[in-house]
């Protein structure tokens, strides 16, 4: 990855010059990992057009050396990351205009910057590194593909164990174990296991509800590999589905298929969203699809670009997005089918493969 990181640093350098700042202080751990490989939970990074300086604490002394190599100069700071920051900034010649990450710096920490008086001039920046991250390189696509395989293999292992009478929490436990057995570093988010009426809650967590015959069973989960995330949803039915369940499921399945196969580089996020939304509306279920079609995925489970009716940004080659249409009816249940899709210049490449038919759990 070292060569990739040098490319990223070069790209960032151009952005710093374009923004006319001498240095950028990064506080987003995902951005820091992207540029340096460091995966610890405590760090600040200073980027100048020619070099990276990483500040962390003693807990990460061994890890940071392994992960970062020579891409950044590392400072282990005994007092606090901020003390380290002042020391480092002073040691770099002719740094005056310093950018900071407005979307990743708390107001409290912004006050720390101001407490340094007029020594440096602070310039809020938005999305400097996120914008680079939106276009994935081949190594990143491979990692997401592998995270997708871990997720779908874990679901395949879990599927035969599920039966009516289990609680949602128990099913989540079987799935989490399968994810670990498949090698997931950790879960990008706690698995959603939502059954019966709870499947109509787009952000349910697993609960102690017992799964019953006739329920929809919605499972939304992900895996992590090399720091990169996957995000997958499948909806099953406990027993034989009703005609109404088949109907709603079929609309979501087809909306997923249409969007995942028709999305193209050059569309806006809103145009992509409309691929699924107009179909679902056409089928008379528009009111039930209350969220947006999807979001970018990478080092974070939610990142740029957005696929939403308000998203005017044009989709670029190299992005990876979720395609996750759903239909929800409060009190009755809901269906969501979600895949991760790489937007290549040659068309969409689906990274998460697991049956999209309505599987019956007997």
């Amino acid at each position: 990855m070292t060569d990739r990181r040098r490319e990223r640093l070069a790209a960032l350098s151009s952005r710093l010059s374009a923004e006319k700042i001498d240095a950028l202080v990064l506080s987003s751990l995902a951005n820091i990992r992207y540029l340096t490989g460091f995966s610890g939970s405590s760090a600040l990074l200073i980027a100048t057009p020619s070099e990276l300086h990483l500040i962390t604490d003693f807990r990460y002394e061994t890890q940071v050396a392994d992960e970062v190599g020579d891409i950044a100069q590392v400072r282990i700071e005994p007092v606090s990351l901020w003390t380290g920051l002042w020391g480092l900034l002073q040691s770099i010649p002719s740094v005056e205009l310093v950018g900071f990450e407005s979307a990743h710096l708390l107001h409290r920490d912004f006050q720390r910057l101001l407490s340094q008086g007029s020594r440096w001039q602070w310039r809020p920046q938005l999305n400097l590194v996120e914008d680079l991250r939106e276009t994935k390189d081949e190594d990143e696509i491979t990692l997401i593909l592998e995270a997708g395989a871990i997720a779908t293999n874990a679901l395949a292992r879990t599927f035969p164990s599920i039966h009516a009478g289990m609680t949602e929490l128990e099913i989540a436990g079987v799935l989490e174990k399968a994810l670990r057995d498949e090698g997931s570093e950790e879960a990008p988010f706690p698995p959603i296991v939502a059954s019966g009426p709870r499947s109509a809650l787009p952000h349910a967590r697993a609960s102690s509800r017992v799964v019953e015959k006739g329920d929809f069973l919605l499972i939304d989960f992900g895996a992590q590999h090399g720091g990169y995330c996957s995000d997958v949803t499948r909806t099953f039915v406990m027993g034989v589905p009703t005609a109404e369940q088949c109907d709603v499921f079929g609309v979501v399945r087809d909306a997923n298929h249409i969007a995942a196969h028709s999305i193209r580089v050059g569309m806006t996020g809103a145009q992509a969203d409309a691929l699924a939304r107009s179909y679902i509306e056409h089928c008379g279920h528009g009111e039930g699809f209350g969220h947006s079609l999807g979001h970018g995925i990478g080092l974070e489970v939610h990142e740029a670009p957005r696929l939403a009716s308000t998203a005017k940004v044009v989709l670029r080659a190299g992005s990876v997005v979720t395609i996750e249409p759903g239909i929800y009816r409060p009190g009755w249940g809901g269906v969501r089918i979600e895949d991760d899709v790489h937007l290549s210049a040659n068309g969409p490449q689906i990274l998460t493969n697991f049956s999209r038919e309505l599987l019956e759990i007997v």
Copy 2:
């Protein structure tokens, strides 16, 4: 819990008056949960001395009604939480000075507040609600005790399955499944499973390293119950320990015992930290104990108070803290033993019970 929440709102009211602010905008989800019971991932809360207004989005429409009851007025906002905020603030008479949570508001969102011109005057606040949360009531202590029992029961289930030849990730998977089977809502943080030399990394995650005979095996994990967290660490040995392993382990075990039994309300965080630190130093291992003794735990896995050599704050009755001394030697391994302890007026109550002896895994 409704009565408890009314008590909390009354306590917050006094703070608002003391700070001379007409209202407080809360963006910390943990603080919002504490005051209202709402456990969703998207919300803003406005507190005035007499009422609470919760803003969330349509995804939580069903959930918010179940969780919040009549403790807060709920607004489901279709556009954005911020649009909801402006509308709500305007609708409350004679609100002029408005506090916000400096430690929970991003610089970007602070700019949103400023974008509203002179309509309201914004006052940064620190720890208004965190300070209330530091003193737990009986219901909260019970929830943490139950989260502790879930964790230690899950460890007891996991222990017989562990053997040399498993990877750290596999062990994490067995533990995560056991946590779910015991009813943990989710893991407050991904379990740390660190073996051999990796046990010397105080913040290792589980890796694909195969656990071998002779290794220390350090497991640091938690459970969640009713939103409240537990945080437990035990260190095992694979096979028969060496004299050196026994020696280091014994020092940590005794330091844990001394601190967990001697900590008292009225001490400072630094005095509590010194209970373990001075013993470890006395035994000649001071250099190996590079982190602080512990931290408060509750709705968040890290909250007030801190037990650290720099912590001057006096410990209060009703706090729950971790006691987690450790000794780490890079390249060789490390030991940490961590329990959760309720600081009652009558002395410490240990909430996490699992053998603290050096258990051998054969």
